[in-house]
Amino acid sequence: MSLFLLGLSIIFIGGLASLISGRRALASFFGVTGVVAGCVIAVVPAFRVLFNGVAESFRFDWTMPFGSFFLQIDSLSAIFLIAILGLSAIAAIYGMGYLGAYREKKNLGVVWFFYNLLLLGMSLVVVAQNGILFLLAWEIMSLAPFFLIIFDDEKEKARNASWTYLVATHIGMVFLLLFFIILAGKTGSMDFDKIVVMDSVKAGFLFILAVIGFGTKAGFITLHVWLPEAHPAAPSHASAVMSGVMIKTGIYGLVRAITLLGHPPVWWAWVLIGISAGSGVIGVLFALAQHDLKRLLAYHSVENIGIITLGLGIGVLGMSIGSPILAVFGFAGGFFHVINHAIFKGLLFLGAGSVLHGSGTLEIDHLGGLIKRMPWTAVTFLVGAVAISGLPPLNGFASEFLIYLGVFKDGMSHGLANIIPALGVIGGLALIGGLAAACFTKAFGIVFLGEPRSKHAHQAHEVHIAMVLPMVILAILCVLMGVFSPLIIGFFGGAISTITSLPQEVVQGQLNTGSGILSNVVIVSVLLVVLIFGFALLRKWLLSGRSVSEMETWGCGYARPTARMQYTASSFAQPLVFLFRLFLRTARKDSPREGLFPDRAFLQTDTADTSSKYLFQPLFKGISFLFSQLRWIQHGWLQLYVLYIAITLLILLIWKAF
């Protein structure tokens, strides 16, 4: 545990040194060194806990009311901690290269300080074992990204995004405050190990509070409105961390809350499965309709949070109806997807950052043909895209497969009321997987294949080695985590048995059967991949003696094709967007085309976020109208303001005295 604290201190000191260095070149050096060294040191205890299965804790007297400085790395924390520290270190190296371009314009010391602070907050959140400490860490973690999102503060969009984020995160915080205050209840202690199980009505109420509070951070559907604004605005390495691991702390909080609230009733599982299926499907649909690469990725975060929560929902279902198979595979799939999503979504955001860095735009319809200009970015992005679409043998497939496996093995034998959610999970996962594959075919195909659609894409160039290397590492991890997934899932046993209170042997037994099946699938798919490469080599060999002529991409026999004759992102997605228009409500503007030779025509589609447009905007408008009715109190007379305070004080004192 002392190694962990040492690591965190190094991260913090690195951030401070960077803040002091300010605009000097040293700032990036301090920031990155602090993060990388700190992460390497702090991750050691996490791995130790995961291998040995023995929790490590640290307790320290604290004069804070209800608070105690109680940290503990148990196997649940360890899983999240490894994802957080690992991705943050890799993204920091990338950030050094990425931010280099901004050195003249921005104070990078500030950026690094808040990046390190965000990392510190996240690490503390997953190990805090006391309500007050947890909330403090949560607040550090929630405030730091505000300063990262507002990085491009000369752009109005970035300023609005950071405000949206700040409002959203604090609305979530209100629910969490309530949650912890009620949880502490009569015992008066907020230490997680001293919280007593309460009656079912109160536990149910607390569960709803936790779902809303943690769901705002995680980005459940309707609460996700800040994600598509905040992720595109932040610098790409920060978006990678925010999307890859910060939103996972919401998942962590939810799991921790479930363990604190005692045995879950079955309706909790239904709620989780319902929300997550909605998040998954609607998230991926909105992603499909986006024109901005990072915005598209942000909606995919909503989708993947949906997949993770589907796993948790199945796990909770298994806990409440007493099915070890469902419980084990649900949680295992969920946790594995937490790590996998951190890897491939981190990779994809870094890839998007490279596209922005290399070409200067993220507008999908302005790009094209980047695979020839940015080969490393293209290949690594492709790996990430395959992984996120859940295709074997990469890691995204392995975690989704575990959830499928659990439901297929034991989802159909517990009465009609539980078959429906089980079927919902299978249908939802299948739909999500298909749509995600379609969406990334669009994203990869339009951005990297074909011919450049604008001068941005023409001038694109490959990025610096410091940016390529992290992407390559993450891409390799995507492959390794997929291929070695049968060996990896065994490590989730400790966490699953703490949550479900199933005996360790039962959990490990289930995981072993799971890894047996998984390894067969992986072997077959690896063989298929090898076969494909074999065919490709064979083709190359067969063609080696003949003359092969290369034409323009999408030439289709035209003598003089232009880049504008290619598929666009909008046209590629149009059939699916049209099919799901009920949810998407895409606004479409086009000019009527008349005559045999219509000259100019235009088409414009805009998919605004429905929950932001139809739920939150009217809501906030109403609130702002109500408060504008109170404007007369704010007249600018300082003396009267103080008089209000004095009168209130006097009334309170006299009231108390009587």
Binding site: H635, L638, Q639, L643, A646, L653
Partner: protein, 214 residues
């Protein structure tokens, strides 16, 4: 010992009355400085655990800050401002002085009603503290010059300090020093702010500052 404490507390109450009745800003600053020195004396008298660092350090710091540094800063601001008098306050000096005994009575009544966690060192502590707080608030509400507002804030803070020194004798010295530092920074910032407001608007009348409202 108790007699001495009572004397100091009564002197603090009298300084408050003097503040309410004087229009010359120089006098007001001087009176607040006196009050600061009295507070230091109070801290010295209430300490009963013998000669410790706490005993020496705290009164010294209080007297230095509130009796010397704050007045110095305020006098300097006053010189830069070219303002000597509080003009046309919302509540006149005579009226203020007539009202103040009534407030004092309410404060004494409150003092007798409130039950404190620890026995106060003198029965005058709570009335003196409340009266200082009330006077500070009253100065802020009824006067127009920004400098008087700062003085009001100081007096209000002194009132809180009377409470702290005489009742919570067990609080660690760090906390007390921290509070003093807060006040120090506040006075510093206010002095600068007033100076700039004066330069920008050619006056420091707070009642005309509502033009700044967005």
């Amino acid at each position: 010992m108790t007699n001495l404490v009572d004397t100091v507390l009564i002197l603090i109450i009298l300084t408050n009355l003097m503040l309410l009745g004087s229009s010359r800003l120089r006098t007001c600053i001087f009176v607040v400085a006196m009050q600061g020195i009295l507070l230091g004396a109070l801290a010295l008298l209430t300490e009963n655990s013998g000669l410790t660092i706490h005993l020496i350090l705290l009164p010294t710091v209080i007297i230095c800050l509130k009796g010397i540094i704050f007045p110095f800063l305020l006098f300097r601001t006053l010189r830069d401002l070219n303002v000597q008098h509080e003009v046309e306050p919302f509540v006149g000096y005579g009226t203020s002085l007539v009202l103040s005994p009534l407030v004092l009575v309410v404060c004494i009544w409150l003092g007798s009603q409130l039950s404190l966690p620890v026995e106060a060192i003198s029965s005058l502590v709570v009335p003196a503290a409340f009266f200082s707080i009330a006077c500070g608030l009253f100065l802020i509400i009824s006067r127009k010059k920004a400098l008087t507002q700062v003085l009001g804030y100081l007096v209000l803070e002194n009132g809180i300090y009377v409470f702290g020194v005489s009742i919570a004798t067990k609080q660690p010295v760090l906390v007390e020093l921290g509070i003093l530092l807060d006040v120090f920074v506040a006075i510093f910032v206010m002095g600068i702010a007033i100076y700039h407001i004066n330069r920008e608007f050619d006056h420091t009348d707070v009642d005309r500052l509502n033009k700044l409202k967005g």
